[in-house]
């Protein structure tokens, strides 16, 4: 019985048109000759040139990349540790508080996270700059990482790690040689998630940043507050292109590894 009807086809078409139309329009107008974003005056790539000559944007982009690489790496290490503690450490004093602190930042409004961290930094007299933004991003991103990694750790067969320990591996070796390779896909997607969250964050960065550490979202926000600008369209197009290539590549790779794994498993079964 065929359930795929005209209704479904229409809702999918309209739904995806709604999801993608605004971004397509944004990309189209980034190639507009005119500064007036709404009047089409012919094809041009000049706004990309303007963008790359704009030192403020380039500086902000560099700050953003530094913050994102550092904070997502710290967040991945801390988040993986936290996931390991949540899943494997059993009972310990303050466990409820710990899991509460892992899940709370996920639902905490960004304005509150930002405000509270800023008040802390001022309270302890820490000078604000790239370092404080990294601290802030690491803190909320590690919670996301630990959720992603712990969902993988839950289904991980611990007897593998125990076997390695029985065979004389140190706990660190057992983790590095047995557990880590198996949970690696979750750790990598946790890192990517943390990286994207950091790249994207406006609110928390605005609260915790200081002079000389303007990130790209802060720069973009202050520019678009004044209205639509073709340079921002060009910048957005570049970012959309990077994300699209990244996500499509990642999904192709994961599809290929899934196929390869299925083949290996079949081969293993056959050879038995």
């Amino acid at each position: 019985m065929k359930r795929f009807s005209w209704f479904n086809a229409t809702s999918l078409t309209l739904g995806f048109a709604f999801l993608y139309m605004p971004m397509i329009i944004l990309v189209i107008y980034s190639f507009n000759e005119s500064r007036l974003v709404t009047v089409w005056a012919g094809f041009s790539t000049k706004w990309y040139g303007e963008l790359f000559r704009n030192a403020e944007f380039l500086d902000a982009a560099w700050v953003t990349v530094q913050v994102a690489v550092l904070s997502s790496t710290f967040a991945t290490v801390l988040g993986t540790m936290a996931a390991h503690v949540l899943v494997n450490a059993g009972r310990f004093k303050g466990r409820t508080l710990f899991s509460g602190m892992i899940y709370a930042p996920l639902v905490m409004p960004e304005v509150i996270t930002g405000l509270s961290l800023l008040l802390l930094f001022i309270g302890i007299g820490l000078e604000r700059g790239i370092f404080t933004v990294v601290l802030a991003h690491t803190t909320f991103a590690m919670c996301y990482v630990s959720v992603v990694v712990s969902s993988r750790l839950v289904s991980f067969d611990r007897s593998l790690e125990e076997a390695a320990l029985d065979l004389g591996a140190t706990p660190w070796e057992a983790f590095r040689l047995v557990t880590l390779p198996i949970i690696a896909p979750a750790v990598i997607s946790g890192w990517l998630l943390a990286f994207t969250l950091s790249l994207d964050d406006l609110v928390i960065a605005s609260f915790t940043t200081g002079p000389g550490a303007t990130t790209l979202p802060i720069k973009v926000f202050s520019a678009v507050r004044l209205g639509v600008s073709p340079e921002i369209n060009a910048l957005s197009t570049i970012m959309i292109a990077i994300v699209t290539v990244g996500v499509v590549t990642a999904s192709l790779i994961s599809k290929r590894t899934a196929v390869a794994r299925a083949r290996e498993e079949q081969a293993a079964v056959r050879s038995e």
Binding site: F16, T38, P109, V111, S116, T138, D200, V228, V247
Partner: protein, 296 residues
């Protein structure tokens, strides 16, 4: 020993950078504004031992919270945030459900691609997705040009900087959060149940109401909370798409802090926002728990 280090590092990190900052907000919300650096008082002075602590505690009061109830701006902003979040969540559900339904009923080999197409916008910058609507909704924007070209309107519609634009922005940016849980609930559904309902004389529509919708309930609830909770404290959407009459508490907190520099009031606004959020968060957790138990 090794276990203690493993637990201790993330634990201490979260205490120092999540719990303590929050306690500071709580404390400052009970303080008074002062013309000093930092611009609030009292300051905790432990050099005098316990008496310093008591002197400090005696100075704290609920003045800021009283102020929030007296100035109508704040409770209007809370109410209007709640109302915008409710309405926007409902619209997102109406838009998202048919898409999730269509995806779940699409051919098996199409589903991963459709799923990727829903997730892709989530990886794209939130700010950019909100910004993309500014060029569409403005007075000289794409939408107004299209409508006047079609002859539907004579004068441009004022959409940007109104609550309508805020609704559009919320529905657009949070749509994937609604689609994904509903899709995963619908995908698990056994289609033979629908055939059974129809064999027993149900019309397609009543089979939907009596079978499909109840079976996707947990997905609908999860999706609604995933949209409602972040929308309530939203800042970017009201400040870029909304107008001066758009009252949302995230924006008020931002302005209170950055423009008025009134830290104690900003902190009090934050504390009340959290208190309001606790209810939907608990309900959401309960729904998740129930779902997990149902799955085994």
């Amino acid at each position: 020993m090794r276990r203690a280090v493993l637990i201790g590092i993330p634990y201490l990190w979260l205490v120092a950078l999540f719990l303590v900052p929050f306690l500071i907000v709580l404390k400052i919300s009970l303080s008074d504004i002062a013309l000093a650096r930092p611009p609030y008082m009292p300051q905790l002075d432990l050099s005098e031992g316990l008496s310093g602590l008591f002197a400090f505690l005696a100075e704290l009061d609920f003045e800021n919270f009283v102020f929030l109830t007296q100035d109508s701006l704040y409770w209007k902003a809370y109410l209007s945030s709640l109302q915008i979040a409710f309405t926007a969540t409902f619209i997102t559900l109406l838009v998202g459900y048919p898409i999730a339904y269509g995806m779940a009923r699409a051919a098996q080999e199409w589903r991963p691609t459709l799923l990727m197409l829903v997730i892709l916008p989530f990886w794209t910058s939130f700010l950019i997705r909100v910004y993309s609507w500014m060029g569409i909704l403005s007075n000289e924007g794409v939408l107004n040009q299209l409508l006047s070209w079609l002859g539907v309107i004579d004068a441009p519609l004022q959409i940007l900087n109104t609550n309508t634009a805020v609704y559009i922005g919320i529905v657009y940016t949070y749509l994937p959060f609604m689609i994904l849980p509903i899709y995963s609930a619908l995908e698990k559904m056994d289609e033979s149940l629908l055939e059974a309902a129809e064999d027993l004389g149900c019309s397609r529509l009543s089979a939907f109401w009596l079978v499909t919708l109840p079976l996707s309930k947990s997905g609908v609830i999860a999706g609604c909370f995933l949209v409602f909770i972040p929308t309530l404290g939203e800042f970017v959407i009201p400040s870029l798409l909304g107008g001066s009459q758009t009252l949302m508490i995230g924006k008020i907190l931002w302005e209170e802090f950055f423009s008025n520099r009134d830290w104690p009031v900003a902190s009090a606004v934050a504390v009340i926002l959290l208190l309001i959020l606790i209810i939907p968060i608990i309900l959401f957790q309960r729904n998740e728990q129930k779902q997990r138990e149902a799955e085994g």
